[in-house]
């Protein structure tokens, strides 16, 4: 652990300082949105296999591809007959991956399962999703607090698995699989990642302020599963209220269970929320390229995921709603909204009073790594941490990019020590397949720092993506 007085831990390599613009939403309490008339739940919300629709909902069990390719839904839509339509209540299981890697899916609203439709997906373009439409009177299911301390490790994992929790930091790796270590793997530290380094986003921030106690409890649950006692909660120093709330919650915890949980403020620098960077800045350990973080004895979990783990274990509440930051100056009212997963953006926009005329871009996720969408039919997924309605003023003009002037700003910005400039020039020259020498395949996590810093406004993240495709194509060719 670093113990330099008054010096906040930092990652030494790369990083940028975009303007944070968190003031739009950081003081707004979490607000629960009314249930939308319809939710669209993608079968694949996470890393791993897509969820399969539950046997009792549809007469036969099929893989998601079946609904797209087979006769049943030629147009990518599969509506159910009236007899097949099944009533579900809030929190009811409607999809599961059984014993494969993946996460269960629950309906967020009380209503009827309409079928499986091709729905606009922020990343994949279109993907099959279960549509549930609201009907009947929605009664909030009563969640009562259980004493989780008596559960065994297996019981805890089973509860987390049943709740369908995925990592909420971005990638969406199923939480129970991440903390269920293989025999022979030993870790000594749990890092809760509360740095939330993306500009605009404040959902983790608000969760930390309002549910500090739940996060500390969730940390203890994970520590119990891992069989260790040390937990560091890393929070960027621009969230003093969150740091204070968690510090108090950790200090005043009546039943510490021998756990050593403490809060570590971090320097404000993008991308501090990346697992590699937060591990290095808190523990000085560096993950070898291509290995898991558990290989250096650390498990990193998002703070919000930790809170949902607590909900799953102590309340038996499945993960079917989440806090999403709705921000940017292109929407009438900004908010930290608790929404049902699958809520289409259109309902959120309607709830918040519509968009402004100078709206120029809708981004799902943060401004650095998020995806721009053009349709309000896009639903919220489990990993959507924010929806930004950005005006022209905020994003600047979309301009044509210039040639690389070799200024080297991207080398200084890259947290992984890569050479985005060289990769981009190679790709432009049609030599993308030769880019393997730059070793970006394992290391680049598309944080966008290079493209942010580039004065020629070159789309470096996309050049690197193209290089990846070319390298993989070349490898395949070699194998054949």
């Amino acid at each position: 652990m670093k113990n330099k007085a008054n010096v906040l831990p930092d990652f030494p390599m790369g990083g940028i300082h975009p303007s944070e613009r968190k003031e739009l939403t950081e003081h707004l309490p979490i607000e629960t949105m009314i249930d939308p008339p319809k939710v669209a739940l993608f079968l694949k919300q996470h890393v791993g296999y897509p969820s399969e629709v539950m046997f009792n909902l549809i007469s036969e069990l099929h893989s998601p591809e079946y609904y797209l390719e087979d006769n049943i839904c030629k147009d990518g839509a599969c509506s159910l007959d009236a007899s097949e339509k099944k009533k579900v209540v809030e929190g009811e299981l409607i999809g599961s991956t059984k014993n494969r890697i993946g996460a269960s899916l629950h309906s967020g609203i009380t209503g009827t399962v309409e079928g499986i439709y091709d729905t606009i997906h922020p990343v994949l373009g279109k993907a099959p999703a279960i549509i549930v439409s609201k009907s009947g009177d929605a009664k909030k299911p009563p969640y009562t607090k259980n004493d989780w301390t008596s559960y065994t490790r297996e019981e805890l994992l089973a509860k987390i698995n049943a709740a369908g929790i995925v990592g909420l930091g971005g990638a969406g790796f199923p939480a129970d699989i991440k903390i269920n270590l293989k025999p022979g793997v030993f870790v000594d530290t749990l890092i809760l990642n509360g740095s939330e380094c993306e500009p605009y986003l404040t959902c983790d921030h608000r969760v930390m302020v309002e549910y500090a106690h739940d996060i500390v409890e969730g940390a203890k649950i994970i520590l119990k599963i891992l069989g260790i006692t040390r937990c560091v909660i890393g929070i960027e120093n621009n969230k003093p209220d969150a740091i204070k709330a968690l510090q108090q919650a950790a200090d005043n915890d009546p039943n510490k269970m021998g756990c050593d949980i403490f809060v570590q403020p971090l320097t404000v620098k993008y991308p501090h929320g990346s697992a590699d960077q937060i591990m290095q800045s808190i523990t000085d350990r560096v993950r070898p390229s291509g290995k898991r973080s558990s290989s250096i004895g650390i498990i990193v979990q998002n703070v919000y995921s930790t809170k949902t783990i607590y909900d799953a274990v102590a309340l038996d509440k499945p993960f079917y709603e989440r806090v999403v930051t709705i921000s940017g100056r292109g929407i009438a009212r900004q908010a930290n909204l608790m929404v049902k997963i699958g809520t289409p953006l259109s309902d959120i926009v309607k709830y918040l009073g519509g968009t402004t005329p100078d709206l120029a871009k809708i981004v799902i996720g943060g401004p650095m790594m998020g995806v721009a969408v053009s349709s309000l039919n896009t639903p919220i997924t489990k990993t959507t941490s924010g929806v930004l309605f950005l005006t022209k003023e905020e994003i600047g003009e979309d301009q044509q990019y210039g040639p690389c002037i070799r200024c080297g700003f991207c080398l200084d910005a890259c947290p992984m020590g890569l050479e985005p400039n060289s990769i981009s020039v190679f790709v432009e020259a049609g030599k993308g397949a030769e880019c393997e020498q730059f070793g970006f395949l394992d290391d680049c996590f598309q944080c966008g720092s290079c493209a942010y810093a580039c004065p020629a406004k070159r789309p470096l993240v996309q050049f690197i993506g193209l290089a990846r495709i070319k390298v993989e194509e070349a490898k395949k060719k070699e194998e054949n």
Partner: protein, 350 residues
Amino acid sequence: MNSSAKETIQIAEKPYFDNLSVSFSPHIRSQVSTERIMWTVVACLMPSLIVSMFVFGFQTLMITAVSVISCVMTEAICQKMFKRPVTISDGSAVITGVLLAYVIPPGVPIWMPIPGAIMAIFVTKIIMGGLGFNIFNPALMGRALLMASYPVAMTAGWLTPIRDLSLDKYLNSGVDAISTATPLYVLKHYGLSGLIDKFGSLSTMYFDFFFGFRPGCIGETSACVLLVGGLVLLYKRYITWHTPVSMMVSTAFLTWVFGGETYFSGDPILAVLSGGIILGAFFMATDYVTSPNEKRGQLVFGAGIGALTVLIRLKGGYPEGVCYAILLMNPLVPALDQWFRPKRFSEGAS
């Protein structure tokens, strides 16, 4: 399957926006652009021109203007000719024009920069592939051509600094001005005693050279304002300290060791203040395109320029060597980039 089923998923009344941008991430960019960097460099160079007008007369302004206009015109014409987008507004041709004027003597005929501009922009930059692809520093290639083609004008066009503020001398500079010799020429041929005879005591020389009252090229004489410009670029983080500092330190050190009558008796301060060291260190060796990307590479690059400069000054045929030193180091940049790759994250275990 039927159309009504499809319509049920049209959740919003107006699901699509017609005019939304869906460009790639990241969706926010830093304010720094190529244009902004280039024009900042131009602005940082301007004080030197003002001092130069004050010291050598209005002739310098004319030469600089001719140089800038011919560089910009060459770029525009070439890009039109090759059917490439015309990019004169990005300021890079203006920088080349200013720098080209800064490295030629003030007493040359005012058409002199034109062939240099064609060499700099057309041969060195456009033919190589345009901005970002040139191997050599364009302005210095322009100067190298002028040195080869007009050696007399380029080595005799030195003017004595004007100290009495007479308007007559300002207006007629270059026409009937008294030709003189640069400090480095005097030092090379008459030694330190000759230099002191001509330019006064060492302390007077430090003072005069620092503020720009010495014969020399148009933009290289005033160390003071060039340093201010360089510090602005450093403060803005457009350049890093590595190249300029290693170039100045290596020049000073090697001059101290080898530059005197005996070893370790050279004058390092004079070495840095005379000739084009400051201009070269902050504005030419740091040219992004023709310098290494990596910091360690930049240190080697700067040190190499310093060493070659001293070698040319002491042993070569010319009194001044910054121009050729930079041009000789330029082609080594790809090799330096290969040798000094950035340290990867996974190697950074500390």
